[in-house]
């Protein structure tokens, strides 16, 4: 019986989960580690660490190359991870998953292999003001090379997309909409389905930045009908440099090659080459085989918890954190309603600069992020150079939120507020 069947959504056994994460046993100085930076990278359960070690210890060979048993095992495990990831996000076919280093590489892949081929002068790319730099800069470069124009959906004061002018922003000129599935600084969950349907009405494709979405919220790309979804493995319990790009098969097939070299070819002649089939057309050279194999174990882990339960746990802890931070006198950026947001909570505590706050909290064993979070458009919108950010995952507890809030008093002591 799976864990999902065993218990209803919202009832993660966090103590049991924590026991799977070796790093959560460590201390910072003499304080237990309180890890509140999963939006930057998640911690890894023993199952994932073991899967990567097991691959190297028992199955290591290059995938799709050798004709011997080890190579067959490696290939099978690598392709098994692809099929698993496809199923996890509701993709119809493993071939719709291209393995990449993560969301940044995935977005660049689309910006090079799709945008540079498809965009003409005057075409428009519609982004939002809450995009991560990795969903802005690749489009700026593509626009520079093609003469396309970037437009942006603005934000409301409470951290939502301001869709009041969508009709003017999303037009027949729009060829691509790039939107985050969940803001990494504000936590906002944009209305993806509404945006995707509206984009398709005008004939635009939609790329969803899934860096923060896929690890935290149940995702079904078939129901969403997005054209691309970028996936970061290391933010969903997997190793760094694991992850991928989902794309609709017909779109991927029409795309140009991206990185080129071994394995992505069909035939090579002196003056030209022909391409391998999707997804191999996009997988040049030796890939991060062990990492994608370990990502398979991460997907198993999340599957066993059940993504509905993961989401319910995070709604709870996010609501608790926002309430306690506000009570303590912090300014919280982004929506207050946990129904429209995830667990990345940006805040500013009184007059303490986020960098100072992060240093002081570290003395209490607390790991938060301080900075602009690769969200300079968001920082500018709300008139701050940086924020402190606490972000939560399956292993975080209400007690850790309490430790965070109590540690804020230390900052007051140091700065004599």
């Amino acid at each position: 019986m799976s864990l999902t069947e065993e218990r209803s959504a919202g009832a993660l056994d966090v103590a049991r989960i924590r026991a799977d994460f070796p790093v959560l046993d460590r201390t910072v100085g003499d304080k237990p580690l309180v890890y509140l930076d999963s939006a930057a990278t998640s911690q890894k359960p023993r199952q994932v660490i073991d899967a990567e070690a097991d691959f190297y210890a028992n199955h290591n060979a290059n995938a799709h190359r050798g004709l011997y048993m080890l190579a067959e095992e490696a290939t099978e495990m690598y392709e098994g991870a692809r099929a698993k990831l496809a199923r996890f996000i509701g993709a119809p076919d493993p071939a719709t998953i291209v393995f990449t280093r993560g969301t940044t590489e995935s977005t660049n892949l689309v910006a090079y292999a799709w945008a540079r081929r498809e965009l003409r002068e005057g075409d428009e790319i519609l982004l939002t003001d809450m995009e991560h730099h990795s969903n802005i800069v690749p489009w700026q470069l593509a626009a520079r090379d093609t003469g396309a124009v970037l437009r942006y959906i603005p934000l409301t004061d409470d951290g939502l997309l301001d869709l009041s002018d969508l009709g003017a922003l999303l037009t027949r000129k729009t060829k691509l909409v790039g939107v985050t599935g969940m803001s990494n600084s504000l936590g906002t969950l944009p209305p993806l389905k509404q945006l995707i349907d509206a984009a398709h009405v005008v004939g635009a494709l939609v790329l969803v930045d899934g860096a923060q979405l896929v690890p935290h919220v149940p995702v079904d790309v078939t129901a969403l009908d997005c054209d691309f979804l970028t996936i970061s493995g290391h933010k969903m319990l997997g190793p760094t440099a694991s992850g991928g790009l989902y794309g609709k098969l017909d779109v991927l097939e029409r795309m140009d090659a991206f990185l080129s070299g071994g394995h992505m070819i069909d035939e090579v002649f002196h003056d030209r080459s022909t391409w391998n089939v999707v997804p191999y057309k996009f997988e040049a050279g030796t890939m991060n085989i062990a990492q994608e194999v370990a990502l398979d174990a991460a997907v198993d882990y999340l599957d066993a918890l059940g993504m509905e339960s993961v989401r319910a746990h995070e709604e709870h802890i996010t609501g608790y954190a926002i309430e306690r931070l506000l009570d303590a006198g912090a300014t919280v950026y982004g929506p207050r309603d946990v129904g429209v947001r995830g667990g990345a909570v940006s805040f500013w505590y009184k007059d303490v600069h986020p960098h100072d706050l992060a240093t002081i909290l570290n003395e209490e064993g607390i790991a938060i992020r301080a900075g602009h979070h690769c969200n300079q458009l968001v920082m500018r919108r709300y008139g701050v150079p940086a924020t402190a950010r606490a972000s939560f995952y399956v292993y975080n507890t209400d007690e850790e939120v309490d430790v965070l809030v109590e540690a804020l008093a230390k900052a007051e002591d140091v700065f004599g507020l």
Binding site: H353, P354, D356, E363, G371, A386
Partner: protein, 149 residues
């Protein structure tokens, strides 16, 4: 408490009461920079003539380390010949790299920033204004009077 190493009284004093934190319309050199890690930004204004730095001021936003370092810097370099200022910039960098252990006599208030060396990620905060000053002196900065980005 380990935090005393970094948040010394003199640092907090410069943070809360920054010296020479103002624009300087008569500056002969200015330079702006931001710290891409944290979004902090700083503009340094320099009035220099005849190979002498007469006056330095700054504006910007930042953490206690970057702001106090900038404040102390404006006091430490005012009135010094440019070559001495260049030497002080080099010495300050050496201190922040852990290669130089200056005394209070040589370094004054700046010695307080030595504790930041134990917090490697914060060293950039301490050095930011000094980098900007050096760029301004090298003439790499924006022309005087132009607004920071």
């Amino acid at each position: 408490m380990a935090l005393d190493d970094i948040y010394k009284e003199v640092i907090l004093d410069h943070y809360k009461n920054p010296r020479n934190k103002r624009e300087m319309p008569e500056a002969s050199l200015t330079c702006s920079r931001n710290n891409p890690l944290c979004g902090d930004e700083i503009t340094v204004f320099v009035r220099a003539e005849d190979d002498k730095v007469h006056e330095v001021s700054f504006v910007g936003q930042g953490c206690s380390i970057s702001q106090s370092s900038a404040s102390m810097m404006t006091e430490a370099v005012a009135g010094k010949p440019v070559d001495e200022v260049q030497q002080l910039i080099a010495d300050f960098r050496s201190m922040m790299a852990g290669d130089l252990d200056p005394s209070d006599d040589e370094f004054g208030d700046l010695v307080a920033l030595k504790g930041v060396v134990k917090y490697p990620i914060r060293i950039k905060c301490a050095v930011l204004s000094w980098d900007v000053l050096q760029e301004a002196l090298a003439g790499e900065g924006e022309a005087a009077g132009s607004s920071p980005h």
